[in-house]
Structure formats: C-alpha cells, structure tokens
C-alpha cells in the first residue's frame, strides 16, 4: 500500500470517527424515545402489570373522550400564541432600546441577561413568593401604590394564566432580546443612510427598513419560543400545578399527571406523543416561513 493510498483510507474513516460521539448520544436519546412511543400503544399502568396489553391506538382515541384533553390543548395553544407575541414584541422593544445610544448601555446589556442564568424553577418559585395573593406579596404591595389590586394571582383561573405568562416572559425575554440585538447590530447601514438623506422619520425607518430586514430573525426567535412554550412545564409545575380549575393545565402537565401521578404510563405517553407531533408541526411551519423570509431579505 502506498503512503498516499493509506492516507486516503485514513481520511475515509475520519468522518465516522468524528461522528461517533454524536451517534452514541443519538442512540442514548433514541432508545428511551422509542420505548416511550411503544408504551403509548400499550395499556401500561404501573400498579397493574398483569393488565399490560398492546392496545394499538386506544390511548390516542380515548384522548378525545377525556374532558381535560380539550382544555389542555386549548391552553397549550393559547399560551403559546400569547407567549410568542408578548416575548417577541417586548424582546424587540428591549433590543431596539439597547441598540440605541443610551448611557450605560454595556452595563444594561449585561444586566439584561440575568434572568437567563436562573433556572426556570427558581424563577417560578421566586415569583410565586412575590405574587402572593394577599398584600404580603411585593407585587400586590407595589400595585397598591398605583391604586390597583390586590390581584388574586394564583387563586383565580385568569390570575394564574397571567402569572405563568408573566413568569415565563420574564425568564425568556432576554433570549429573544439577545437574538434581535445581535441581528440589529449586523444590519447593513446603507439603507438607513439613504433613508436619512430622503428625510425619512425614525418611525418610517423602523417600519420600512428595520422590521423587514429583521423579519427572519423575528421568525427565528418566535420559532424557538413557540417550541418552548408548547411544552412549558417547570414554571407551571412549580406554581399552579395546572390549577386552579385546570386553567393552566397544558398537554405537558396533563401527560405528567397521567404518567407520574396516576401511573398510567400508556396514556401519559400518548399525550406526550401528541405534544411532540404538535411541536414538530408548528416548528416546521415556522421554519418554512423563516426560509421564505430570509430568501426575501437576501434578494
């Protein structure tokens, strides 16, 4: 074998070698994933091992008879739409603010990232204390200066929905703002110079230059947030456990209850699979939108 040929052979192996860790990791993910899918087609119920059977699509069909499923699906979708609009909207505002020439910009940019560094469960518990329904909660105390409240944060269905939305937004806003801030800084300056020469107002520049150029990034940030919001769990589990009156029960909480509170693994897994399909579907649609938007901006 010539040295040249040996080298060529070594090079042929190299990609496999480099991929090996990823393949091992993939197998580690795929195995429990496949087992989960398999269980979703069975009557697996921890306390009744003797009743274990393959039931085909029974668990999926029975979802439609489950009163909770309707509510959970509605809340999952409603929460996602609200969270994405809120977080992308506010994220854009924060990004524009920090992109402007303001004093202390560097410090503010660093401070903005703080919520990202706190684990969501801690965030949720922190807010739970601040949002106590009585005047012992600091939020209600502060609201009282504005002549508002006290808001029954976790004790009423709408209060609870607002609470989890606020907490989730506080924790994830920096992520959206960071993406958009990065994008703003990378935007070409020529269109702005041209617009300024033509005497365009800042509002017009935002509307006709910034937003169109930013649109792929807005969609990208929205996609990430949509995927996360569809399957949000920690914030809800740590504050409302899906209550009151099931107002904050989403598919993920429902699947958890079935699988880990009532030990009906088969049903819980079916619900988790439905959630997975929903996440894949929504992200696919959003990514198509993103593709189209980025092609448009490149042109």
């Amino acid at each position: 074998m010539t040295p040249k040929r040996r080298r060529r052979r070594q090079e042929a192996f190299l990609p496999y070698l480099l991929m090996a860790p990823a393949l091992v990791l993939l197998a580690g993910i795929l195995y429990p994933f496949s087992v989960g899918i398999y269980y979703s087609f069975t009557s697996y119920w921890l306390q009744y091992p003797k009743r274990f059977r393959f039931v085909w699509f029974d668990n999926y069909i029975s979802l439609f008879e489950e009163a909770l499923f309707d509510r959970a699906l509605q809340f999952t979708l409603g929460f996602t739409v609200a969270a994405v609009i809120l977080q992308v909207g506010l994220g854009l505002a924060v990004a524009l603010f920090l992109h402007g020439r303001i004093p202390g910009r560097a410090v503010l940019r660093a401070l903005m990232l703080l919520p990202l560094m706190i684990p969501p469960v801690i965030t949720a518990l922190m807010w739970k204390i601040m949002m106590a329904s009585t005047n012992a909660g600091i939020i209600n105390y502060l609201l009282s200066f504005l002549g508002l409240g006290p808001v029954n944060w976790f004790g009423s269905p709408w209060g609870a929905i607002a609470s989890v939305l606020i907490i989730d937004t506080w924790g994830n806003l920096p992520f959206v703002a960071l993406i958009l801030l990065g994008a703003l800084q990378a935007l070409p300056t020529e269109p702005y110079e041209a617009a300024r020469v033509d005497g365009a107002s800042p509002a017009a520049m935002l509307r006709y230059i910034t937003l169109p150029l930013l649109s792929p990034f807005l969609i990208l940030a929205g996609t990430f947030r949509a995927m996360d919001s569809l399957r949000v769990f920690d914030v809800i589990y740590a504050t409302t456990m899906g209550g009151p009156n099931d107002a904050t029960t989403n598919l993920h909480i429902m699947a958890y209850q079935f699988a880990f509170q009532w030990y009906q693994i088969g049903k819980g897994m079916a619900q988790a699979v439905v959630l997975l399909i929903l996440v894949v579907l929504v992200s696919y649609l959003l990514l198509r939108l993103w593709n189209r938007a980025s092609e448009r901006t490149v042109q």
Binding site: S133, G243, P244, Q261
Partner: protein, 468 residues
Amino acid sequence: MRIPRRWLSALLLTGLVTTQAPPPAAAQDSEALAYYRQAKINWRQAEGQSLTIGLNKHPFTESLLPLIPQFRALTGINVDYLILPEAEYFTKLAADLSQQRGEFSVIMTAPIRNWGYVIPDWILPLDGFLSDPKLTDRAWYNLEDFFPGLLASNRWSGKIGGGIGEGPLYSIPVLSETYILAYRKDIFEQYNIKIPTTIEEMAEAARLVKKNAGIAGITARGTPSVASIGTGFISGLKSYTDNQWGELDAQLRGNLHDPRSVKYTETWVNMVRESGPPNWANVQWYDAMEAFTAGQAGMIADADFFAANYEDPSKSKVAGKVGYALLPAGPGGKTYASLSTWALGINKATKNKDAAWLFVQWATAQRTLLNATLGFRNYNPTRSSVFNDPEVQKVMGSWGNGNYLKTVARNLETARVAWIPQPERVRVGDIWARSLHEIYFQKMSAADALKRADAEIDKVLKEAGIRP
C-alpha cells in the same frame, strides 16, 4: 444551627442539664446503645450490608435523621437515604417499586398508600419478621405498646372496599394524625363567636371572624389534588353523615352525588369562597398551616399535630392563643374524623431484607420514638408509652391549656381511616378535588359537579379492573 438548638431544648426538657462537663461522646454512645442491646437478638447479624431509605420531606423525617448514626453504630449497617418532597417522593417510590430493582429497602409509607402497593405485590408483610426470634425480641420490642387502632390501620386483607385491620401488617406507624378544629380563642372570645358544632355554625363562625377581625375566617387546603380532600374536608363529611357514607357505594361506584354529600360540599365550598383566603384554590398544607401560625386566619380544620407549630413561640404569632375542638358532629352527635399514620414498610425487591427489618425495628423501638418526640418534635407519637411519657405529656398538655390533649384523646375514640380501601384512592381524590374547583369557581352546581366526578370515577375504576 437548627439541630444543635433542638438538642439543647431536648436536654432542657429531659432535665439533663447539669453543671458537670458532658461525658465523652463514646460513653454517651454506649449508654444510648445499651438500651438496644437489652434485646435478645444479634444486632450485628447484617453488619457490612447497605440500606437506602426512601423518605418524604416531613417532620418525622427530620426527627429520624439525627438519630441514624446510632443505628450505624449499633448494627454496622450502612444507611443512605433519599429525601424528596411528597409528590416527587411518591412518584419516585412507585417507579422503584414497580421496576422491582429494590433501590429503596425501607420506605416511608401510609396505610392509604399501602393499598396501591399490596395489590401489585410490591411490599412485604412484616408479620414474618416479627415472629422470627432471630430477628425480633418480641418482649423487648413490645408491639402491644402501639395504639391498637393505629396498628390496625396498617393491616389490610387486600379486599377492595374493606378489610382494614385484617390480614397482614404492612407497615409500622411512626407518627399519627387525626383532624381537629383549631381556632383563635382570643378572636372568638373578643367577638363572642360560638365554637361551632355543626358545619353550618362553622361557616357562620368563619363569616363572623372575617367580618369582625378582618382576617380570613378559615384557612384550608385547596389545590386540585387528593391532599385537599383527605383531612378536614373528608373528616367533616364523615361526621356529617354519621359515618354512614363512603365515597364509593357497595358496588364500588362513585357516591359523591349522594344528597348528604352534595349538601355538605356546598356548605364547605361556600364557606371557603366567602370567608376563606382569596387564594384558597392554590393553598397547600404548609401554606394553610403557616397562614394560621402567622395569625392570618381564624380557624383551620386540619392535622392535630400542626399544633406543635402553632404553639412554638419561636415561629408562631398565635402561641397560647389557640383553642382546640372536635370537628362539627353529625345528627348523631358524634365526630368521625379521619385518621392517618405515617409508617415504615419494606420493599419486597430489596436484597437485604433482614437488614431492612433491623432498621424498621430500631426506628420504631420505644427509645427511638421517644427520642424523636422529645428531641425533635415528632408528634403525635404512636406508642402509648411515648404518648404517656411525663415529659411528652407536659409538652402536649401545655398546648391550648390542656385542651389539645383532651381533644385528641376524644377524637381518637371514634377516628378511623376515612377512605374506602382500593388502589386508585389518589386518583379518586384528585377527581373529587377538581370537582370542588368547579363548584368554587361557580362553573357548575355542587350536584352536577359531583355527579360528573362520579362518572369519571366509575370510568377509571372500571379501566383499572377494580370494578367489573
């Protein structure tokens, strides 16, 4: 800093504070161990083996942990433990039991939990260990010292719908609770409010407290989970129906729509909506306990031993101001409160069964439970000798000017496990609690909400194969 301070109070209580220097640690150890060595068994027969104990984060757990080094010294058995909050603990426990890997050797359980573990054959009956002279010195251990009713509640024949107190013993009780009414004596006296004897009077008292004192008339658990049903609420309902009613009928069908249950539920839910804390629907047991301890509510219908918290001047704003009474009785004039015990049981899949039993025997021995109560506030004790120990009596006897002890003793005469034995108790309770939310938020009438809950219960029990 917490434990040393507790030790100090324990020392004060037992009158052991002397001006002499304390004996060296080794001497203390051997003195403490001498009690256990009186038992005619070889404590070191499983030396070198290892145990993992599964524990729920609970006052009992806090009282057990500081004593565990003693068990290590006595037996040479290594002990590890995992402590999780209640919901996570029971999930982890079910996962371990069902996989039969025996990760936990000894488990913290309760009679109502055992029902779910006996049917799939996950936990061991303890009678075999108790009758094996190699493993247990019956005379020394003195099982008869446990209150008979508490021990009985940990026996179950395995018959769905009945059989409590019959058949094998699945766990040994370490802490007992019954449910009573604690109220703010000062407020009740100041505004001349009558101590309630019916559920209607209780609602009225709650209304008056709120109107006059400007705090919640009553605080109670309210999250949509079985925990909101199983204490004051179910105890009141059992009493309201003179113990003639259960959540399932003889055919194991949902029985929540029974007119008496509907009437009681309506009164209870209206009471917490009108006079309870605004966030009732999100109140867990510790929120309720803390709110009452902080002086934010006029009444609480929950576990009797919360009194240890109410009466602890270092954290309570209401110490010395609390009255204790039985929950409102039914037409027959008697209160039928629910009763529950925390207990230790053994995982069937554990490899070190004998070592596990030695741990259970040690942890439930007279001296261990006495130390847990005197040193670390493990109330209420389950052994009569601990309950009647002069020092323990002195502490409990001081609560509510002696009213606490009297109330608990009277409650125990008629208290029993309120739930109907079946493995889906948690699920039934969760469905039930959700229906309370429908009523509380006025989405449905009590009759409709409870009827709907019954339909769901019927569906689940059928699916589980519990009902034909």
